[in-house]
Symmetry: C2
Amino acid sequence: MWRIDPASDDPLYAQLVAQVRLGVAHGTLRPGERLPSARELAASLELNMHTVLRAYQVLRDDGTLELRRGRGAVVASTATDLTDVERAVADLAAAARRAGLSVQTTTTLVTEAMHR
Amino acid sequence: MWRIDPASDDPLYAQLVAQVRLGVAHGTLRPGERLPSARELAASLELNMHTVLRAYQVLRDDGTLELRRGRGAVVASTATDLTDVERAVADLAAAARRAGLSVQTTTTLVTEAMHR
DNA sequence: CTACTTGTTCTACGACTACTAAAACAAACG
DNA sequence: CGTTTGTTTTAGTAGTCGTAGAACAAGTAG
């Protein structure tokens, strides 16, 4: 885990957010599991503590993580079954690729569909 | 068409990009059709010409539009059938909503799935 | 050919975001 | 108790977003 690309267009904190979300969605990160502390993760990734903390705070506001002083960041207990979603995602990816759609156009379509 | 929200978190040019992409995907904008000139659209939306032009340039680099001086912005001829994609998008949106996933997490999953 | 339209390029500015940095603080842990 | 860890504050640099004005080049239309 924790593959950060400083040269990416996406902000560093957003990359962390996406990775945690994917980990939780895929079951790699299980509810109750503890993530590295902000200082620890920042040191190992050669980032600033605030950058890591910002990602953690986004995920806390999102309901994905629970943050407490002295304990650190813990994955919240969501416990939803994502098999349907995973299959739908795979189907969409295949259809979009077949149609020659870009990733951006595809996510734009998804965002629009979910905003209704 | 052309509903811009200056208070949105998304940049103005990104909103324009998304709307053109959706228009092309849904068939509202057909290949060969001409979009308003950058100055014209900027005036009617009360934006700066550069903001509109930036959106047009993103779409040109994307292959969605063709830009030529004196003529303006024209929808490129892609002509792909999107019925499969539309159905897959609707299925995914339903599954994600059923699982209680946020729009962001869902698009993150889609992005990841298409990057493989 | 001429006049007009339209995209292209350049410089510049103010506002905001992203990231880093150092420090001090408060709550929970062992 | 001391340690760990998130929280908050202040500060600086770099980059993006949007606006603005101007000049330029390649097409279009008459």
